[in-house]
Symmetry: C2
Subunit: 392 residues, 2 copies
């Protein structure tokens, strides 16, 4: 009888525990890459608690995350070629598939049904189905006899397309489904477009899905294509006329900012911010800034851009009015700023200060630091709202 | 012993059932108001199934929904003054609080911590805490001895402010927290600004959080204020010079479209679409359209606006290129189109066809109707991604 009572007790307590509605609050959490730990810190941005650290099968240098529009899963491309999946509801690790030896980026299709991963080794693109988390297709970036190119600058485009750059053949490739609206339909390469210079190494798509822009390694030239009016060759913006150094963009980290009709691009190794007209994609002018800019991130209201720096100005954030181009504020925060992200309605900014091992929360209203959250070597910061933006 | 076995069996099966991870997929569902039923249809937009009908304590004429950024709860303001709450994880009704006799709209603060409800009877604004779903404050719209105004055109603004229009005193009110960043801090009226004409009855805020614009009842004039540069009186756009009829906007339904530097406003009772410069808020020109426009909704890429109609062109959707202003397509769908909404990455549009009792799903890629979902008197269509946009 004692045994029965014990069983009953077990039964009832289990029922009570398990029946308690779980509090998922999928939108309350951001995911921050802890690079040296190979973990993903899950942070509740309502109370700033680190609720979990998800260990990944990963080398997390330049790791980026995409989120399904259903907000059920997030996917992380990693430098050891393993595409990791996390469950956004349980905040738990949910396995991996091996797509290559070395992946650099990923994108999720407009309909949320397909993930593409860009690979360095062997060069190519791997197409993964969201439905069953399985590889559907491997598209080698073949550029000659037994020669393959590294693939980078991967973004999602209109009509469930993907756009990427081939570093070793100086091309932009556009991939589309044979039947654009059928997630089961295989992807094929529909366009191969020569870039305007050698060794393209990153890319972005403008929020209207019209222009795709590449930076080139050790070059003063940007390539761009107009997706509404495709040509055989990319057009170029030659910064050499205006500036000695080359613009650099980090993979998938919004290192370039688009506010209204302006695209802001930091000149690497030179205290200048270049402004490009987003309608014509022509160089407009340059703005002097306090150091070598790394990230230029636009506030959701598009009124401000926030710039982080390498070199002597590292740790500072310069805030510039996108319309007047005047400096509003220079903040002094952290050391080795590896990423900066805003909440979607822009009330707060999150800053990864890698060398001081903290995530810094800044209130945008009065530019005050309201929280320092200890983390281990934080880098990329990812909020689930990215699921609802093209090119992220 | 048999009893023990039975208990064990119960225990294990319960554990198994309850431990099975629930599939929340909060981002996969849209909520469509079924006006005559007083229900909210929950539709899985991956497989187009109506998974549930949530009965509400409500009169759902002009019912609108806001979502917490945590994506835990959604809130519906109703014409019988009851603020209903739904749980987005369980997709279940989660109670109501009575805020007035008749509510017309609602908004959620930039930080997601406060909801404001605009009331017709008695006129005023009710402030509700998201944390405990309780009324924190009632702000009567007192405009004289025992005189109160109907409040409408309510939106969230920068710094956790709310902006609204007083129909009976021809004013715009701005409400801010005493301490803008403390959700516990009470709201106070910081500005009362005279509108440019009588009887303002709706409003919008531009996505950069800068301009607030009102329509006026039976008037050819729009009022607007510049939140960066507040004055005692609203400025005006007088359509009387260009057009006989008055522009109309339905509450909170994005009946005006903002694409890049243009705001598109349908002229009520006249086959014209007015274009306003979004930078200067000056009238630019008008575009002839096929009928009396009701909703003008911009595609997320801002390349197209989709226009619905009343009168003879009811049931049609005219699609116009926002840059060239040429007609791309005229679709013939349904009858009494009560709302139109896009997915956030723009692959599909959802259209409420009230008279034919269906939600129509249109693929934006080729403008094909891919699904007709039977519903009862559908009107407003709400996706959880609205949580991440100002003014929605």
């Amino acid at each position: 009888m004692r045994y029965i009572n014990f069983l009953l007790f077990l039964f009832i307590t289990s029922l009570l525990t398990l029946c308690t509605p779980r509090d998922i609050r999928v939108g309350s959490f951001i995911y921050v890459v802890e690079r040296e730990n190979s973990t993903l810190a899950v942070i509740d941005i309502e109370n700033y608690q680190v609720v979990k650290r998800i260990p990944l099968e990963a080398n997390l240098r330049h790791a980026t995350i995409v989120f399904e529009p259903s907000l059920k899963y997030g996917y992380i491309a990693t430098r050891n070629g393993k595409l990791n999946r996390i469950n956004l509801e349980t905040k738990e690790y949910d396995g991996y598939i091996e797509t290559s030896k070395n992946s650099i980026g990923l994108a999720i299709s407009q309909d949320g049904q397909t993930i593409a991963v860009s690979e360095y080794e062997p060069g190519g693109i791997t197409i993964v189905s969201v439905k069953d988390f399985k590889i559907k297709q491997v598209i080698p970036a073949k550029i000659g006899n037994n020669k393959y190119s590294k693939v980078t600058g991967l973004v999602d485009g209109p009509e469930n397309s993907f756009i990427c750059a081939l570093m070793d053949s100086n091309e932009i490739w556009i991939l589309k489904r044979e039947n654009p609206v059928d997630p089961e339909s295989p992807y094929k390469i529909t366009h191969k477009i020569k870039t305007a210079d050698l060794y393209p190494f990153d890319g972005l798509i403008t929020p209207d899905g019209r222009y795709y822009v590449n930076a080139h390694f050790k070059s003063n030239i940007l390539s761009f294509i107009d997706l509404w009016n495709l040509k055989d060759r990319a057009e170029k913006i030659d910064f050499g006329k205006y500036s000695k150094k080359t613009p650099v963009k980090m993979p998938h980290m919004e290192a370039w900012a688009n506010a209204d009709e302006k695209i802001f691009i930091a000149a690497n190794g030179e205290p200048l911010l270049h402004v490009i007209n987003a309608k014509t994609l022509k160089y407009s002018h340059s703005i002097p800034i306090i150091g070598d800019g790394v990230y230029t991130v636009v506030h959701p209201f598009q009124k401000e851009i926030w710039i982080t720096f390498s070199g002597e100005s590292d740790g500072k954030i310069q805030i510039i009015d996108t319309r007047t181009e005047k400096t509003i504020k220079i903040l002094d925060v952290g050391k080795k700023i590896y990423h900066l992200a805003f909440t979607p309605k822009g009330d707060r900014a999150f800053v990864s200060s890698n060398a001081t091992n903290e995530l810094i929360v800044i209130r945008t209203y009065d530019y005050k630091i309201i929280k320092r959250i200890p983390l281990n070597s934080p880098s990329g910061i990812f909020g689930v709202w990215r699921a609802y933006q093209i090119g992220l």
